[in-house]
């Protein structure tokens, strides 16, 4: 099984900070050549999951269940092993170029540092060539390499972050809200670049976002996280256009339409109960309009409804 495994595999993964359960029963695979969007509201556990995948969970965090990075079991990985994985196997694209890029370093200096660390066999000339290749790969003019971060636009800075993440030629690329600082056109172009890294170069791309519509546009699959649990996982178009979990339906309905008719009030997604304690019942039992006795008493198990995985007792009933 280990040999068949997807580059990023989570199986029954959970995470606790003290007695607070922040993630529970996460089953998710990101295969080579696909983009998976991890979507959820603030506080759903997106960042905790991302930190866990990078081996950067805060001290005192207690992980359980399976997490494999390129076949390496997190339970057996030493700190040295994590250090090797980060950069060379796991590439991270942080959220905001202005805070992620050191203000006093030029683009070429930053790229050179990452290349030296991850490809130590390259000499200076080869590193220069690699820099030019990376910049071209992310669609940046090579003249930009002499700029400092403040002299880059938001879209250019974000592309520099992608180039830095790609410098170690990672099998897994993780993007943390990469478009939240960009306008629609720049955001679209950046997401296209990520999709290309997956589809043309066979990387496994995990796109973390709170924008369901934007991520569904480029993702192959979408996984919706609420209160530390996955509630619906499936093909992007299916989840975006015909969601079956009531929470995901509400998330989709919470976006205002571009053109009339417009609703008088936007619908609000129900809030999930935090999964702080071992819980009976569905996290949405208190707020969901469809909730009944079963929802209060039984934790919904994974079911397959209309081609996707979903945790809801009632999903698919209305169809």
């Amino acid at each position: 099984m280990q040999t068949e495994q997807a580059p990023l595999t989570l199986q029954g993964f959970g995470l606790r900070y003290g007695s607070d359960v922040v993630l529970a029963q996460i089953d998710l695979q990101v295969r080579a050549g696909e983009v998976v969007a991890l979507v959820g509201a603030s506080g759903a556990g997106k960042t905790s999951l991302l930190h866990a995948v990078l081996g950067l969970s805060p001290a005192g965090a207690c992980a359980e269940g399976g997490l494999w990075i390129h076949g390496v079991d997190r339970a057996q990985a030493t700190e040295a092993e994590w250090a090797r994985l980060r950069g060379r196997v796991l590439g991270l694209i942080p959220q905001d170029p202005l805070t992620a890029l050191p203000a006093h370093r030029r683009v070429d200096g930053l790229l050179d540092e990452v290349l030296r660390r991850h490809q130590p066999t390259l000499d200076r000339r080869a590193r220069r060539a690699a820099q030019a290749r990376l910049l071209q790969q992310v669609g940046l003019d090579s003249a930009l390499r002499q700029r400092y971060p403040h002299a880059l636009s938001g879209g250019q800075g974000q592309r520099v972050l992608v180039a830095l993440a790609l410098a170690g030629d990672p099998a897994i690329l993780i993007a943390d809200e990469p478009t939240s600082a960009l306008d629609a056109v720049a955001a679209r172009a950046l997401l296209g670049l990520l999709a290309q890294e997956a589809h043309a170069r066979g990387r496994a791309v995990l796109l973390v976002s709170h924008d369901l519509a934007a991520s569904a546009a480029v993702a192959d699959r979408v996984a919706v996280l609420a209160a530390g649990r996955l509630v619906e996982v499936g093909p992007a178009a299916a989840v975006m256009c015909q969601p079956v979990h009531p929470y995901v339906q509400a998330l989709v309905a919470a976006r205002p339409p571009l053109l009339p008719p417009r609703p008088r009030r936007l619908a609000l997604a129900p809030t999930a109960a935090p999964c702080a304690q071992p819980r009976h019942g569905c996290a949405f039992a208190a707020t969901c309009v469809q909730a009944d006795g079963r929802c209060v008493e039984q934790v919904p198990a994974w079911r397959t409804v209309a081609g996707r995985q979903v945790t809801c007792h009632h999903a698919g009933e209305g169809a």
Binding site: A41, V185, H210, L212, C241, L258, L268
Partner: protein, 259 residues
Amino acid sequence: MSALRVEGVTVWREGRCLLDRVSFAVGAGETVGLVGPSGAGKTTLLRVALALERPTEGALYWGDQQPWALRAAALRGARRHVGVVLQQPAASLDPRRTVFESVAEPLDTHAGPLRAAVRRARVLRALDRVGLAASLASRLPRAVSGGEAQRIAIARALIVEPSLVLMDEPTSALDPSAAASLLNLIADLCGQQTVAFLIVSHDLAAVGALARRLLVLDAGRLVADGPTDSLYAAPPCAALAAALAARVASGCGVDHGPS
């Protein structure tokens, strides 16, 4: 009389023209959206409208006042008429002050010393107006959510009863549910037509949900000014067409792109 009038505003900075002869007015109680790609000059225009940046050429009016014709003390007093809500809710609040003190600050600046009971009543009324419970008043910013922080910023802007509020990307840092809830609130405030709003955003749908009239800025020029729905249905300029196309590509029935 309009709440805000900008006439032939041109801004040059470091040899670059950031705004080029921009003119528009926002009527009393009117809600207007302002969109444009990154680098179009939206933020510069906001700074000009707030009288934080003096244009190289052109005139600015708040009601019948010209802020740049006022002396410094009078300009500080006139600022009461213009409130602002910034993009990053967490960063726009002082981390050491309670919510109560943050909301009371503009009142202290512009309404002079008030009796403690009056001050408290006005702060609580301002919080209530944005849907926040009085129990939130004693918290520090680190203990409020992004959506709550943005409501606090709105309460701060509204407490001195300005005639105009400028909003810079009010929902872009929020998740969809929090954003929808905030949009409902802003739509209510806009609907009351007591305060004029100028709403700057990348999010065309959010602007569409709030503003019937839309301004489009591209490369420092005002390239469109008209009813939001007709501009979305038939974008008259490349900047808006590109933004709509980028959005629509994500759509199934949900996003309602132009047909």
